[in-house]
Symmetry: C2
Subunit: 322 residues, 2 copies
């Protein structure tokens, strides 16, 4: 029931995922979800995009997102996917599934496309925790490493700590303390990753680090800045392409060459974000997700189940603290 | 002596500014600055891009950037422009010129182009203060308002506070406390600006706010993320344009239509950043500045002198606290 194009695009995406062999369980209002070919668990409530997530999840016990999270907890589902209110998906996941052992705070991990490379970079936390402790950032690093290994096949991920200069002396108190923690010996070997030190805003789309770790305030600003700049530039380029008959003809020649760039930035192809640190797989799709994006997200969830990522997260978190 | 193309491009830019009627005083090594047509104050030291700014400014008393700041303090110059080590330009300005009365911390203010509008948005602080107090953000708002009024002619600037949600309840403790301070009645009328509440990362290039206020950590990450995303996208588009003879021909047709976009994002045309809160005009240009960028920066400094911006900053800061 969540997302700008729910329930129709969600249902279509679910149908496409079923066609790929994934078993899908929908949660929603039967009056709106006209999909007799799919399994539907009827729910009566919806958490809207603008609602304050915490109170809404506590109050609306029959919200589709809350029931989906409950189904993962019960073992009725192996993973959940939501394109609705991100805070509500997060709160539902945390409240219903609980946290993985030893996790201080779950974090939202979002992939960013790298030109000419199939594997994207991962940024976390993109908004779950506006304020963080240094140790949480170390846990984010650990969970991010497991996630890019299970999702993108990076054997020993490079971890960068977001700061405003490369030197360990640069940045906020939080970053300096996190840098000291992450520089301690042992954990990188135990988690199978390598801490490469501080990275900067411009490294988001570079191959400097596979995982960029930051607090949820900075990560959310970075995510929305990147989305905003990319969409403004694309808009401006498209307006220029459409500015005369001559330009439109020239654009027709160029568009095939621009297709890979378009595909790389198209959220339909990335599968969306993941909430890492809860005791179940919780995939958070963009609010603007269409059927293709939902299908990709469902297939990604399925892959994470098959690769036993929750087990890997538990092992890595235990190794981090050992 | 500072910047990637110093001293040659700096000298050429200075010459171009003189041709526009601005009187320029260069600071640098006479052996390297071969410009007998321009006034040169000989200096013997240089602070390199990678040097730790504070100690370097204290130690290298005859560095070009330190002497330039001293000249503003002495009244020998009306403003300074530097394309060198940003930290060194900042430290020199603060140590030599001192702060304006009541200013807790100076801030770096950077303009961002808005598609289809001549006036850019202003973001501050872009990196002077990794950690901030709520009251400093209120001062940044006040100084930013004066700066966009004097520099871009915005009569009553709209001030946005960067956060991760529009509601006053969203964000870090710093942002929530700053929001409360900025929501207090009176100061907006006294400073002649309007506080529009929280804005998000995507508002950087929107017309939501004329001035976006944040701490120097978040602002620096935002600046470098925006630069990184823009340069990656432009690079990818240019590679597609150059991918075949057919594409190169089509690109020739499109490039004139893309020229306004290119011009808007070209740092040569923006004049660079300003350090607000020091007792003198200090313009901070991009390290990659060429002659055109330096000329624009010098002319911008001249304009700020003519518009008596330091007087306006002093008045607004006094009104803020009254």
């Amino acid at each position: 029931m969540g997302g700008d194009f729910a329930p129709d695009e969600i249902v279509r995406g679910a149908r496409q995922a079923e066609a790929e062999g994934v078993e899908v369980l929908l949660f929603g209002d039967p009056a709106q979800v006209a999909a007799t070919d799919l399994k539907l668990v009827p729910t009566t409530e919806v958490i809207a995009m603008h609602e304050d997530p915490g109170p809404a999840v506590r109050k609306k016990k029959d919200a589709s997102v809350a029931r989906a999270a409950q189904a993962v907890k019960n073992g009725q589902a192996s993973a959940m996917v939501s394109a609705g209110n991100t805070g509500a998906a997060m709160a539902s996941s945390v409240l219903r599934m609980g946290r993985l052992s030893k996790v201080a705070r779950p974090a939202i991990a979002i992939p960013f496309p790298i030109e000419g490379r199939e594997q994207p970079n991962l940024l976390l936390d993109c908004g779950a925790n506006a304020e963080c402790q240094p140790f949480w950032l170390l846990q984010f690093a650990c969970m991010g490493a497991v996630h890019v290994r299970d999702r993108f096949g990076v054997k020993t991920p490079k971890i960068g700590l977001l700061s405003i200069g490369e030197e360990a002396s640069k940045g906020s108190t939080l970053v300096k303390e996190a840098h000291a923690l992450m520089s301690e010996p042992g954990w990188q070997e135990r988690v199978d990753c390598s801490f490469i030190g501080n990275v900067e805003g411009r490294d988001l789309l570079e191959t400097t680090a596979d995982v960029i770790v930051t607090d949820g305030f900075t990560g959310n600003v970075m995510l929305k800045t990147a989305e905003g700049v990319a969409s403004k530039l694309v808009e401006a380029v498209m307006a220029a392409f459409d500015s005369s008959d001559e330009c439109r003809q020239a654009a027709d020649v160029l568009l095939p060459a621009l297709q890979p760039l378009y595909d790389a930035w198209n959220p339909d192809n990335t599968g969306g974000g993941a909430l890492l640190g809860v005791a179940g797989i919780s995939v958070i799709s963009h609010g603007s997700s269409n059927a293709a994006a939902i299908k990709t997200a469902i297939c990604m969830a399925q892959e994470l189940v098959e690769r036993q990522t929750i087990l890997h997260l538990e092992k890595a978190l235990a190794a981090l603290n050992s």
